[in-house]
Assembly symmetry: C2
Homo-oligomer: 354 residues x 2
């Protein structure tokens, strides 16, 4: 029996609805497999916790998490209660950094059964490899206050170590796929960090002569994702650009609610964290309307990462079967509830698993 100890953080808003849904799918997968066991340990760290304790997690929170094999997270943030930069930097961003999850892998793919908001798109299937630990998301900076003349500096910090690591990951991934890597840049406007980014991309890429490598400015790249997403295979991007590209990836798939993500500690020294692209969606939270697919597809990424890709395929297959049968939540133009969507996916998982 293979046992996995998973730290589960449902978080805020719809995180609390979609995480249980995805855990049921992971339990079903264990059932089907027979030799796989999940040990879930739940952590109630979220904005309510913050309001009670004045912090998003206890002092030894990170040390606690590091004892687990992996972390399964819903979503964090309740801007009405706690400013985003406190809740997110106190939990999500903090775990990404302190557990050295320096690569965020975010696939985008036109699923069977889904209608893209794009007119007749060709089938697309690309993966954004996002640098996840530095860049534009930086606590360095500050303000000079004097009314009219107030001035704020925000430092973006890029290291060769992390930049090259994300790029290597992208090229390795492309070697198993369609051998194409596009780097998201903006070196024509951002004149220190982005020319550096381009230079490292050239150097890393030189070790992969079989890959077609090119740089595209982020503005044009966003436009291309709308005009011809089928042209992309692997895209490597900075923290901010990766964030933007993957919400856009969600949109062209049909809904941000289905987009998955994996925050990887590629060295496997610390746990990785599996957390979908979407946020806590306070507007629809508590109504049972959230789309569970982003979280379930994210569970597939966890299965892939722990070395069970056949089970991962099973999950994605069941998601697609369910969509193709027309079981869709509101964000996808349907009327299914979260419960209806997950029940249907579960049934199809068992059917496929036989």
């Amino acid at each position: 029996m293979n046992t996995y100890d998973i730290a589960v953080i449902p978080g805020d808003g719809i995180g609390k609805e979609v995480v249980p849904a995805a855990l049921r799918c992971l339990e079903a997968v264990a059932d089907i497999h027979g030799g796989l066991k999940w040990n879930w340990t739940f952590f109630p760290w979220n904005c309510e916790y913050y309001l009670q304790h004045g912090e998003m997690m206890p002092e030894d929170g990170i040390a606690t998490l590091k004892q687990f094999d992996q972390i399964f997270l819903g979503a964090v943030g309740m801007p009405e209660l706690v400013p985003d930069h406190i809740s997110l930097w106190g939990l999500l961003v903090r775990i990404r950094r302190e557990c050295e999850q320096s690569i965020n892998v975010r696939p985008a793919k036109l699923l069977r059964g889904l209608e893209s908001p794009l007119r007749n798109p060709e089938p697309f299937d690309f993966v954004v490899v996002r640098e996840n630990s530095e860049g534009e998301y930086s606590q360095a900076g500050g303000a000079i206050h004097s009314d009219e003349d107030e001035l704020v500096v925000q430092n973006a910090i890029f290291t060769r170590r992390q930049t090259a690591k994300a790029m290597k990951y992208a090229f390795e991934l492309a070697a198993e796929r369609r051998h194409s890597v596009v780097s998201a840049t903006k070196s024509n406007g951002i004149v220190h960090s982005m020319p550096f980014w381009d230079r490292v991309f050239g150097e890393v890429g030189a070790a992969y002569p079989d890959a077609a490598a090119r740089s595209v400015h982020i503005d044009a790249l966003c436009a291309y994702l709308v005009m011809r997403p089928q042209q992309f295979d692997v895209i490597v991007a900075s923290n901010l650009f990766g964030d933007i590209l993957t919400d856009l990836g969600g949109a062209i798939m049909g809904s941000i609610g289905i987009a998955p993500a994996a925050n990887l500690n590629v060295e496997r020294k610390y746990p990785s964290m599996f957390e979908p692209v979407h946020g806590s969606a306070p507007d629809i939270a508590g109504k049972g309307l959230a789309n569970p697919i982003g979280q379930i597809w994210t569970a597939k990424q966890m299965l892939d990462f722990i070395g069970l890709p056949e089970l991962g395929e099973l999950v994605l297959g069941a998601i697609e079967d369910s969509l193709a049968a027309g079981v869709k939540t509101r964000d996808l133009g349907g009327s299914a509830t979260t419960e209806e969507a997950v029940s249907d996916i579960l049934a199809r998982l068992y059917r496929r698993g036989k």
Copy 2:
């Protein structure tokens, strides 16, 4: 006779093809109007000029430009010949800054006769007001070199003066439109500049109680532009975010090749610069295939700015008539050449002008 002295910089690549096309439309407009005269003065400042002179424009280039009423620019950049950050910061960005064109106004609208790459979009019509002089585009920053440990810092610099100016412009514009202003932020990830941006937005917005004002994170905002662009009226954005949103705006209109832009010196102390969203497109340059509409629609923005909005409407009407008649360049899925497109628009301009 109202005479306007215009500095014309065709620039590089397709700039040299679409600028003459747009000038023919402006001449036609003068013809139709009767009491309007253009004095064009051409400046050959581009990458070839750089290769000959070692700089993108002569030392007194800015002083020269400041003697004109307005500047009409095509596109700059030939990355194969001159690194982008040299050509663009030596000309485009430099003029924006030294002529204090601190607001970049970029409309996006579903034109009559055009098919959006979006499936059945509702008609949309929004304007991005982009802060044009600071923010993420900054020459402050630098590198610490030591191989593996190389580290690069890029400073983004936001002042209250420029931030508030862009926001005020956005609210004033919304007051003449549909009274809605969305601010593009990312204060959950970028924790110094963007919370500042949000704060100034709240303060400026307080003076406009009739406007519906809200902040949306740039990642979600990009997704919304694909999912429901009709919801937006005025969007105010930083230099980088405005850049990204407007290429995306071009894409959902049908082509970046049609998206217009105006770099405004709102104080009218120095000339403003009219320059489309698209770049020099070296791949199709010199073939007569470029779409002239971005440049012609940009000419409409110049007409609006100098106080001739009826003539601006005439130009946009002629563009739409031509598209509705199916005259489309390749980027729009047609087969018209630049010459065919502009001839058709000219004919329709005269027809409307009668």
